[in-house]
């Protein structure tokens, strides 16, 4: 009980810290293909897709999420903004699930450009990028910072 409260405080503090530090870092946003029929996605839907729980779009199509490489700081930034968890927690989460094989983490794009490319090409795919390098082939569907 106590520890719960403590973790909550820590989390809030971290969230606050992120919110303050956000303008300094690059603005990571969730993108889909410009052809994608989905017009809007909630944070929960996005978490479900990325964390392997429910990988379907509102239209009923299976969604295909992509991750940036682990070395890219934007990955940690994205997950932190989206779930409020550190990348290590995310990794531990996947470690538990990967062994049983029922669920798996998103495929990895080798870079932002590759990510942009993959999203542009597949209308059911979903990913995240620095807002600065977005072009008209893709569409920003969710901004986790907000």
């Amino acid at each position: 009980m106590k520890s719960n409260r403590l973790t909550r405080i820590i989390r809030c503090t971290l969230l606050l810290a992120l919110m303050i530090s956000a303008p300094v870092n690059a603005d990571v946003v969730v993108i889909v293909s410009a052809n994608c029929d989905a017009t809007a996605l909630s944070r929960r839907e996005i978490i479900n897709i990325f964390m392997g729980r429910y990988r379907f779009l509102p239209s009923g199509h299976a969604a295909k999420p992509y991750d940036l490489p682990t070395t890219d700081p934007r990955k940690a930034q994205f997950y932190l903004a989206l779930t409020g968890k550190n990348i290590s927690d995310i990794d531990a989460y996947w470690a538990r699930l990967v062994l049983t094989g029922n669920a798996s983490p998103p495929d990895e794009a080798s870079s932002q450009e590759a990510m942009l490319d993959k999203i542009a090409r597949n209308p059911w795919s979903i990913g995240y990028l620095d807002r600065s390098i977005i072009d008209n082939r893709v569409r920003v569907i969710f901004d986790p910072e907000h």
Partner: protein, 759 residues
């Protein structure tokens, strides 16, 4: 057996300790079991909760993604823990995994599940704290928990059991060593102890200062006190027994005396006779019932011989006796038949615890009274006889002296050659008359002396007397007689000794002894006088060279009228000189004695007490005043004398004094007439006169101032010392006893008339 054992401190201590520890242990075990059980439950819950904590993130992931495989894996992992009976993981409405303990069958699981309270935990989404994605239900394994709990309980039981054993192992020997054994030892010592002989209980070694030591000293103190009180009680009992015995004996003694006494004994209480003895009944001639209850004056005449009322006098006596003064008085009693008798009554107070009694001892003194009366009569008779004897002696003395006065007086005159000197052939017969007369006078004097001594009427004065002058004086007196027979008297001691005695009497004794020594000596003999002082006693001894006294006659010496054969010899003597000597010596606290050898001589000795410093009463020296010459003496002398012969003697004497005129009066009355008519210079007065006697005449002379200064000399044949004394007290200037020595008379007359002349 057990009952006896259960008396032992050791056994009781053991039982109590075991019981108490066992009971405490049981309670403790139950408590511990309860605590342990609930503790195990709690611990199990915490354990399970902690287990759930460790798997929670995995469960969250599994529920989040509905991963059955992961859920089963988690459930199987949890079941590896023995505390877990079954695990169920749910995701929303979907059962992801349900696993039970592999060692149990379904029935057991169901039964245990019913007993155990399952732990439910909601599983929230890993990414959204508000979203519940599933639930995990864990059922604890009670069998396991209880087995652990019971293990703990058993451990405690074992622990307690060992503790009990350890305590018993320590306490029992301690009790045995510290309490049981010393007390047992003490008890044994106490049994062997003889407190009466003063033994003290010694505390066991090492217990001198603890409770056992105190117990020992308490026992000793108690024993001491007990013994003390025992002795006290014993002594008291003995005293009581002795007292009771003494009391009984005393009572018996009193009773015996009371009953066997010859005198009548009454016990009186509150003025009533309460008891009397058998002698009483005999004396009063009555029954006991006649006596008891009566007042003490019931058996008395109404009046006592002295005239007082019996009842009143009896009450007075009783009161005085009640005050503690024993009363002894004579009382007149009456018997029942009316006859009276005199009795001596002794009334004494007896104080007893229950009251005071008077004891009256009544003795019939009729016989004694009669004897007394007879004795008084006899005494009166004897006194009368004595008086008659004295009167007889006095009168004899007087009657014998009167003629002797004439005999000796005239003989002296003749001897002195008055009126004419005698012829040589006449001189010897006149001397014989004179000496015979003097011998007769001496005889009369000695008989009178003896009579007085025997009557105990000898006046002895005590004063200090120097022995040597006295002896020399006496020797000078007897010297002429001794010289006649050429007897040599020697006194060689010249002692300074002084004796305490009557000088006149000592002189009498020594004169007697010395006269005897000369009288019974042989011619040309020797008399030795010596004096020695030894041990405050002066011994004067007189030895002679006479014929001595035969032994068989020694006892007769000092007996009156024993002359030891001398009565048949020519030697004169009365036979009472030594008797008087002996009596006089003894009267002066001295002794007299003798030793004699027949044919050699005798030695008589007198022992008299030596004078000490306290005897300051020195005898006055007898001083002789030279009488004036007869020629110087002149005056008128009146001689009152009824006997013509004696008057004639006096006339012859005074005829020798030419300047003195002698007037004779035959009676006192005639004498007084002459005195009044023509006062003389001197009156010579006889005392036994017809009509007025000499003493009365003297009083008349002395009472008349005109004649009071005339000296009056008594010339009387009343020669007893009391006569002389009475005469001098009455006022006579001197007292001459008839027959007088002519020279003495002349000297006295000459002295008075000479003084008178000078005056």
């Amino acid at each position: 057996m057990f009952g006896q054992w259960s008396q032992s401190i050791l056994v009781r201590t053991t039982l109590v300790i075991l019981g108490a520890v066992g009971l405490a242990g049981l309670i403790f075990i139950f408590l511990a079991a309860g605590v342990t059980a609930s503790d195990s439950e709690d611990r199990a819950k915490i354990h399970l909760s902690q287990l759930l904590d460790t798997v929670e993130s995995s469960v969250r992931a599994a529920c989040y993604v509905n991963d059955r495989a992961l859920a089963r894996e988690i459930a199987v992992g949890l079941l590896k823990n023995n505390d877990v009976l079954s695990v169920k993981i749910l995701a929303s409405n979907l059962v992801l995994a349900q696993e039970t303990h592999p060692g149990l069958n379904t029935r057991q699981v169901n039964r245990e599940s019913a007993r155990g309270i399952p732990i439910h935990r909601k599983i929230i989404s890993p990414f959204d704290n508000t979203e519940i994605v599933g639930e995990i239900i864990v059922t604890p394994n009670r069998i396991e928990i209880e087995s652990q709990s019971s293990q703990s309980v058993w451990f405690i039981v074992m622990l307690l059991g060992s503790q009990l054993l350890v305590i018993a192992a320590i306490v029992l020997p301690s009790v045995l060593y510290l309490v049981s054994r010393p007390i047992k030892k003490l008890s044994d010592t106490l049994h062997e102890l003889d407190p009466a002989s003063g033994d003290l209980l010694l505390p066991p070694t090492g217990h001198e200062h603890d409770e056992i030591g105190r117990l020992v000293s308490d026992i000793n103190a108690l024993t001491g006190r007990f013994l003390g009180s025992l002795h006290h009680e014993q002594a008291a009992r003995e005293t009581i027994e002795n007292t009771e015995q003494a009391l009984t004996e005393s009572e018996l003694r009193y009773r015996t005396i009371f009953e066997s006494a010859g005198d009548a004994i009454f016990l009186i209480r509150d003025n009533i006779y309460i008891d009397c003895n058998d002698s009483t009944l005999e004396l009063y001639g009555c029954q006991r019932s006649d006596i008891i209850g009566c007042t003490p004056y019931r058996y008395s005449p109404e009046y006592q011989p002295d005239g007082s009322l019996s009842s009143k006098l009896a009450e007075e006596k009783a009161n005085a006796a009640s005050a503690g003064e024993t009363q002894l008085f004579d009382w007149e009693h009456c018997r029942l038949d009316g006859t009276c008798f005199s009795a001596e009554v002794r009334l004494k107070l007896i104080k007893l615890h229950q009251g005071t009694y008077l004891q009256a001892i009544v003795r019939d003194i009729t016989t004694r009274k009669n004897t007394e009366r007879m004795l008084a009569n006899a005494k009166e008779e004897a006194e009368k006889t004595t008086q008659a004897k004295s009167a007889f002696l006095a009168s004899m003395s007087h009657e014998l002296r009167t003629p002797l006065n004439a005999i000796i007086g005239f003989a002296q005159m003749l001897d002195m050659g008055i009126p004419v000197p005698l012829a040589l052939s006449q001189k010897q017969p006149v001397r014989h008359i004179l000496s015979s007369g003097r011998h007769l006078l001496g005889l009369i004097n000695e008989v009178l002396d003896l009579t007085r001594i025997e009557a105990g009427r000898m006046d002895i004065s005590a004063s200090t007397v120097a022995v040597t002058p006295l002896i020399e004086n006496i020797i000078a007196l007897v010297q002429p007689g001794a010289a006649e027979r050429r007897i040599n008297i020697q006194y060689s001691s010249h002692s300074e000794a002084k004796i305490c005695a009557d000088p006149v009497r000592v002189r009498q004794i020594l004169l007697n002894l010395l006269s005897n020594a000369i009288k019974y000596n042989r011619d040309d003999g020797l008399v030795l006088v010596s004096c020695q002082e030894k041990n405050n006693v002066v011994n004067i001894s007189i030895s002679d060279t006479g014929s001595g006294i035969p032994k068989q006659q020694h006892v007769l010496l000092f007996q009156p009228f024993q002359r030891l054969g001398a009565e048949y010899s020519i030697t004169e003597g009365t036979g009472i000189g030594l008797v008087i000597c002996k009596k006089l010596t003894e009267a002066m606290n001295g002794r007299i004695g003798f030793e004699s050898k027949e044919g050699i001589g005798s030695r008589f000795w007198v022992e008299l007490p030596a004078a000490t410093a306290s005897h300051i009463n020195v005898a006055p020296e007898i001083r002789t005043v030279d009488a004036p010459k007869n020629s110087q003496v002149h005056g008128i002398v009146l001689y009152v004398e009824d006997s013509p012969v004696n008057a004639s003697v006096m006339e012859h004497i005074f005829s020798h004094l030419t300047e003195v005129q002698l007037i004779i009066a035959a009676t006192a009355e005639a004498g007084l007439d002459i005195i009044h008519a023509n006062p003389p210079d001197l009156v010579l007065m006889d005392i036994n006169l017809p009509g007025m006697n000499g003493l009365d005449a003297l009083l008349v002379i002395k009472s008349d101032p005109y004649t009071a200064s005339i000296p009056v000399i008594a010339v009387s044949a009343a020669a007893l010392p009391q006569d002389v004394k009475r005469g001098l007290e009455a006022g006579f200037s001197a007292y001459l006893t008839k027959p007088f020595e002519v020279t003495e008379l002349i000297t006295m007359v000459a002295k008075i008339l000479g003084n008178d002349r000078r005056r």
